[in-house]
């Protein structure tokens, strides 16, 4: 239960970071609020990592095979990705969007450890499965950030275009900055997601004997992969602005559907057929996250 306690501490730190970034967003003169937010987020990220470490010791890493574990990992990776973005391309007002996202993602994980962590069959218990899960969640985390940035783009575009030069107008970064950041996130996310898909199909081959089966999760993943791939390609040929932002939001909608939706609704064999769940426990309890 140690991991849960530490996780709750991390959640408090995340909430503090969110408060800092939101304060900065509301009062842009208080640059210190953003600095505080950043430090708290870093602290939260580290504490969260410790919690994950303890969790791995307590449950042998099996918790990440559940939806709760997926959220746990997703929140950690989103904050990590955001921290990284802050260092490479600092736009602190993005924090007001990213950190609340982390808090919301983490929320469902705070109320208890996984009940009966699932056990994958012996033949899948190796690095490939952990690798697949980690890389896939990392991809989702990066696309989640891209989604947040796209949302900011659309909000700012509405201000700029509608000649509403109000609070949002002055606080949100410029369209060009958001567009560039969006493009970078989509590109990196696409690379990561590709790796996850390759690892996933290798796993599928081991589990089912085929690289591809018409499993809903596989289909959704492929569709979003194609969409993001198209986005990367379209950007090369010059697609900018509003459409780009909208498309990347659609992409994330598909991904999050497959991440959460298919994790709750018992369709397809992804996860279930690995023997991750005992059928008696009900299909919905603890399906694989990704």
């Amino acid at each position: 239960m140690m991991s849960l306690l530490i996780l709750r501490i991390a959640a408090i730190l995340y909430a503090g970071a969110a408060a800092g970034f939101i304060t900065f967003f509301a009062k842009p003169r208080w640059k210190r609020a953003a600095a505080w937010g950043d430090s708290l987020l870093l602290a939260a990220f580290v504490v969260h990592a410790v919690a994950i470490g303890f969790g791995c010791r307590e449950y042998g890493g099996m918790e990440f095979l559940t939806l709760r574990g997926g959220f746990l990992m997703l929140a950690w990776l989103v904050s990590g990705a955001f921290l990284l973005v802050q260092r490479v391309y600092p736009v602190p007002s993005v924090g007001a969007f990213a950190t609340p996202l982390v808090v919301v993602t983490l929320l469902p994980t705070l109320f208890g450890p996984p009940n009966a962590p699932p056990q994958p069959p012996e033949r899948l218990r190796h690095g490939l499965l952990s690798g697949h899960i980690f890389v896939a969640v990392l991809g989702v985390a990066i696309f989640a950030l891209a989604f947040g940035v796209a949302l900011m783009y659309l909000l700012q575009e509405r201000e700029v275009k509608g000649k509403r030069f109000g609070a949002l107008f002055s606080r949100l970064p410029s369209l060009s900055q958001l567009d560039t950041l969006e493009q970078r996130l989509v590109r990196i996310g696409f690379v990561v997601f590709t790796i996850a898909l390759v690892l996933g199909s290798l796993l599928a081959n081991q589990a089912w004997g085929h690289f591809w089966q018409w499993d809903p999760k596989q289909i959704f993943s492929l569709v979003s992969w194609l969409l993001y791939g198209a986005l990367v390609q379209l950007r090369r040929s010059g697609l900018h602005g509003r459409r780009y932002a909208l498309l990347s939001m659609v992409g994330f909608a598909i991904i999050i559907t497959s991440f959460v939706g298919l994790g709750l609704v018992p369709v397809g064999k992804h996860g279930r057929d690995y023997g991750l769940n005992r059928p008696a426990q009900g299909e919905t309890a603890g399906r694989s996250a990704q």
Partner: protein, 451 residues
């Protein structure tokens, strides 16, 4: 009894036309010479001159306002009717307001603080500014900083070109690697193009129905002239289009821009229409990734900024007021301080000596706690006894009463022989020759003190 006081004489855009301002304005070595001359005058202890294109003000710490006035009247007799004057806290308040940009032509503009800092630097460099002006200016700078950080007086764009710059910044961030297109030869257009060029635009393209006008305008803004017929292609190259022709109709409409957007692959395109009647069809806003603004939009922002700043100015004035009071209070306490600190030192000395004597006599009969009690009692008596005189002296000082500190010094037998830092008030050394102005230690010069 003469009083040394801070005097201000000045004229500004509010009181004098530019014809008068330019006659009296001083800069460079002239300013240094004038300051040195001013400082050398009888009865001038310290001086500083703030000279910008919108104002010229002389601040003098001295016996009378006359030397400050002379610096204007000696340069131009015309100035006489345009001067404003202030003394004491009024003059302090004025400097604080000027530094905080509350007296500027454009409320909340940023340059004035730098200009006052420069004025102080010049005054220090010729030794015209001493301890008083140094403290005064530091307080003024601190006030300006407070105003800037605690209010929103500096926020927003305060001119049409600035609004255009701000808008373009929100779309493109900067204009590195991008091009500005100037359509038409309106004066506002050229101004805005120059303002926008400060965002780092790669090139400025200029087009006009008359090729000659285009050429001369291109020269003026540092751009290159293009034939009018190329307008559709130019819309593909440029990112910001400033339109200000004299045409009575729309020069740019969706039919023209739509193909350009396709060719641009929907890279953002921003139109700024400075013409009245409008030259850019407002329907352009309906196209994706096209941003179009007309004069009304820009003016609206300017007015918003102005009224927002005017509102912030009320808060800024309160800050200035508090700082003026704090400055005065601080100075007055400074004036009363020498007597107070000596009085206290003397009393504490006596208390310590008496406690020591008592302890020497009966100390061995007491334990540690008892010894400490004796010392504490001696200190307590000193504090209780001095409490009322201290309060009274401070109050007298802040009321500008310079008599009481002297009387107190006399009464308690404090003399001024303890080194320059604790120079006794002059009343205590009555009969001795008054020190020369300017030779006074900083901490005894007050806004109004007798010599």
């Amino acid at each position: 009894m003469s009083t040394r006081e801070l005097y201000l004489v000045g004229l500004s855009h509010k009181s004098a036309p530019i014809a008068v301002r330019e006659k009296v304005s001083l800069s460079g070595d002239d300013l240094k010479d004038a300051l040195a001359a001013l400082k050398a005058r009888d009865g001038v202890a310290e001086a500083m001159v703030v000279s910008t294109c919108n104002r010229m003000e002389a601040y003098v710490l001295g016996d009378s306002i006359e030397p400050a006035r002379r610096i204007f009247l000696d340069r131009s007799g015309d100035a006489a009717g345009h001067l404003y004057e202030a003394a004491g806290p009024e003059a302090v308040r004025h400097l604080f307001r000027v530094s905080s940009s509350l007296d500027s032509m454009v409320l909340g503009e940023q340059q004035i603080l730098g200009q006052v800092k420069e004025a102080y630097g010049v005054a220090s460099s010729v030794q015209a500014a001493g301890g008083f002006i140094s403290r005064l200016c530091n307080r003024a700078f601190a006030t300006a900083k407070r105003v800037r950080t605690e209010t929103d007086i500096g926020r927003g764009a305060s001119s049409v070109s600035q609004v255009a710059v701000e808008l373009v910044e929100k779309i493109f961030d900067d204009l590195k690697g991008r091009a500005i297109l100037l359509v038409g030869a309106g004066k506002m257009g050229a101004l805005s193009a120059k303002a926008l060029a400060s965002l780092g635009a790669d090139r400025i393209l200029v087009t006009n129905r008359s090729p000659e006008r285009a050429l001369s305008l291109a020269e003026q803004v540092g751009g290159s002239a293009r034939p009018w017929a190329e307008l559709p292609q130019l819309l593909v190259q440029a990112d910001v289009v400033i339109v200000s022709t004299g045409a009575p109709t729309y020069v740019v409409d969706p039919a023209l821009v739509h193909p350009a957007m396709k060719a641009r692959k929907h890279r953002s395109l921003c139109f700024i229409d400075l013409a009245v009647p409008r030259n850019v069809d407002p329907a352009l806003s309906q196209l994706d990734d096209v941003y179009a603004y007309d004069m009304d939009d820009l003016q609206k922002v300017v007015h918003q900024t102005k009224s927002a700043r005017a509102e912030e100015a009320i808060r800024a004035e309160a800050i200035v007021e508090a700082e003026v009071m704090a400055f005065s209070a601080e100075r007055e306490t400074r004036a009363a301080l020498p007597v107070l600190s000596q009085l206290r030192r003397q009393a504490e000395e006596i208390a310590r000596a008496e406690a020591q004597r008592t302890l020497a006599a009966i100390g061995e009969k007491l334990d540690d706690r008892g010894r400490r009690s004796v010392e504490a009692m001696a200190r307590a008596i000193v504090n209780k006894l001095l409490h009322a005189p201290t309060a009274r002296l401070k109050q007298a000082a802040s009321n500008g009463d310079s008599l009481l500190p002297g009387v107190a010094a006399e009464l308690f037998g404090i003399d001024g022989a303890q080194g320059p830092e604790q120079a006794a008030p002059r009343a205590a050394t009555a009969g001795a020759a008054p020190p020369a102005p300017g030779a006074l230690p900083d901490n005894v010069v007050s806004l109004s003190e007798s010599k």
